[in-house]
């Protein structure tokens, strides 16, 4: 398999996988699953697609020359988790105590 074929195959896999996850999210809404389950499915599908986009379209992998990019992406993910998670925790706690 030539480099170009491999490249094309990789894009196709990425496209198909993203389409599948999108369909799953739409399916959760169309099939009128109960709200919590549907939100979980949509959330997981969104995260999965972020990873797929990085891997197949932005070509971030574990190779050496991508290491700096990968580190920055993981660091961003860590900080987002800290900030969003912390905010949810703090404000939910305050909300509970004011009820």
């Amino acid at each position: 398999m030539t480099h170009e074929q491999r490249e094309r195959r990789s894009y196709f896999i990425g496209f198909a996988a993203c389409a599948a996850w999108t369909a799953l999210a739409f399916g959760a809404v169309i099939l009128r699953l109960d709200q919590i389950t549907a939100l979980w499915i949509i959330g997981v599908s969104a995260l999965a697609q972020v990873v797929l986009q990085f891997r197949y379209f932005l070509h971030i992998d574990f190779s050496r020359q991508k290491r700096e990019d990968l580190q920055l992406i993981l660091f961003s993910a860590l900080l987002l988790a800290i900030m969003v998670g912390g905010t949810v925790w703090i404000l939910a706690d305050l909300d509970k105590r004011m009820m």
Binding site: F75, L79, T87, D93
Partner: protein, 691 residues
Amino acid sequence: MNLLFGRLGWTDTPFAELIAHPSVNTAVASGAAGLVILGALVTTVLLTRYRLWVPLFRDWLTSVDHKKIGVMYIVLALVMMSRGVAEGAVMRAQQGTALAGGFLSADHFAQLFSTHGTIMIFFVAVPMIVGLINIAVPLQIGARDMAFPVMNQVSLGLTASGAALMMISLVIGQFATGGWTNYPPYTGLAFNPGVGPDYWLWAILISGVGSMLSGINFAVTIYKKRAPGMHYMRMTLFTWTSLCTAIMLIYAMPPLTVSSAMLALDRLLGFHFFTNDLGGNMMNYANIFWMFGHPEVYVLVLPAYGVWSEVASTFSGKTLYGYTSLVLATMAIAVISFTVWLHHFFTMGQSSSVNIAFGIATMVIAVPTGVKVYDWMATLWRGRIRLTVPMIYLLGFFMLFVIGGMTGMILANPSIDYQVHNSTFLVAHFHNVLIPGVLYGVLAGIHYWFPKVFGFRLDERLGRVTAGLWVVGFSLTFFPLYVLGLMGMPRRLPDFDDSAYGPWVTVAGIGALVVLAALAMIFFTFWYSIRHRDRFAVPLGDPWDGRTLEWSVAAPAPEWNFARLPQVRQVDDFWRAKQDGRAYAPIEEYEDIVMPRSTAFGLVIAVASFCMGFGIIWHIWWFAALGFVAIPAAMIFRVFRTDTERTIPAAEVREKTEAWLAAVHAATPVTRDEEDTPANRGRAVFEGNPA
């Protein structure tokens, strides 16, 4: 509403207020406004008198040279610091005379502490740090410029535009009274319909974008522009701390922009993010603001730690002790600083489990800082120590900063924080970390790198007096505040009638006078050194027996920094090169050097963003729209410019470099005993490792 002038009227100046209600209070306000106008007038007259408008525009305001941009950042910071220190002294005078009735109104006092804090953090500490990084980092990594030189100019422009809004608030209208954090709902439309909070918001929004762009610029520069062989673990500690600070700026500035933008939407368009009614939640403002606010203090202090590392190593003639542990500690601080923001609002009402988690995280962050202090002390141990000005600042830092860190540990305990929060104990604590930590670090850095930028040293004797005054002035001003805080004195207090406070506020007031003297000495040192610059000249470029790449080029550093990009082999590469005789090697082949061309783009963005901010603050919508449209218009115009680079011919590079190299080889190297004498022209005797 007036279509032409919005809500701006003729009575919106302190002068009108002075005429309507003559008192000491309004006279102080008018005096401050008069100083701003006088300063602007004197500058204009002097620039015209000495025909400096064209050189100023051509060589500085349109320059994209990282060294000049760094200098402009520091000049801006020094101007703003003069105002900030003066405001601090006025506040100390008010509290010192409070038992006799004081002389300021409560509202005026509230403006003073709000502008003092805002200026000191956003327009003194940040530009000083950004300025130092601009000056030193490209030289230390062996690069010719920043990754994005024009964006660098835009960052400076946005910062200056925010600073201009701060200054004009003295003359037109009134600044916010909500402290430097500008907490709603007090700063919301319902309680503060005036322009004050809007001044704060737009100064912060505009300069905040500039800081984030600086962060991106520094990070990309350090990632992509290092000289061949400059692996990560060969970078100087200052570069390491700058990298961590840059990454922190990228992630810490957006929360500030978000919280300010939400509050601006509340005030301008009737949103309800932080209002009392209609579902607003002002506690979320504190939450988002401190997601920026806490990392911010480490953004400021990390580069200062970097300066300490350079200073400790250079002035004791030793390789830094524990290089790897210092790098790891820097990274640890950068990450942990994002996990502690709740300790700024322990008393807001969340459960103790939340408080404890953030309290422990806060205590953990002291560990890597402690590691650093021990590493610096071990660097000094058995070194060939010269007690130069940066070393005096380092000693002051060791003693005072550790005390500030200890009181931070005390405050990190939520149950103690409940006792002393919002007291002057807290005020003493954060001044105790910011002044010995950040300010001393920056002043040491300025003294250290000044010869590299301007080609002559600053006077050592005056510098030592200045450093001494800062140490004494700080101690006298802020240690009494610890006692006052434990006695129960709240922060931001315009007047009181407890006579027990009297002696302590008097001592603090005397301390403020010493700090004023220290500030004056900074300017006097510059003036004196410039007057006698021939005696202090170090054109050969290495006045301190330096260890890192920036000292391997002439002083002032040429526009292109390095005639040939260096090949780096190890940590402290220049010092090793001097050891192996590789230093000052002749260059066989010179090449044309392509440098970015000067542009007025940053200046245009600065003026446009100022117009936008001022227009929005005063509801002069046509003016705001003008600025708002001018920014994308300038960007589009800029995109069509193709001649953005200019080539410096190899012959010119050869001529200057050969002349410098010839002078280096002809010079007699000086020993470290002569460091402080006119014999020091910038070539050092290689003295090897201290015995």
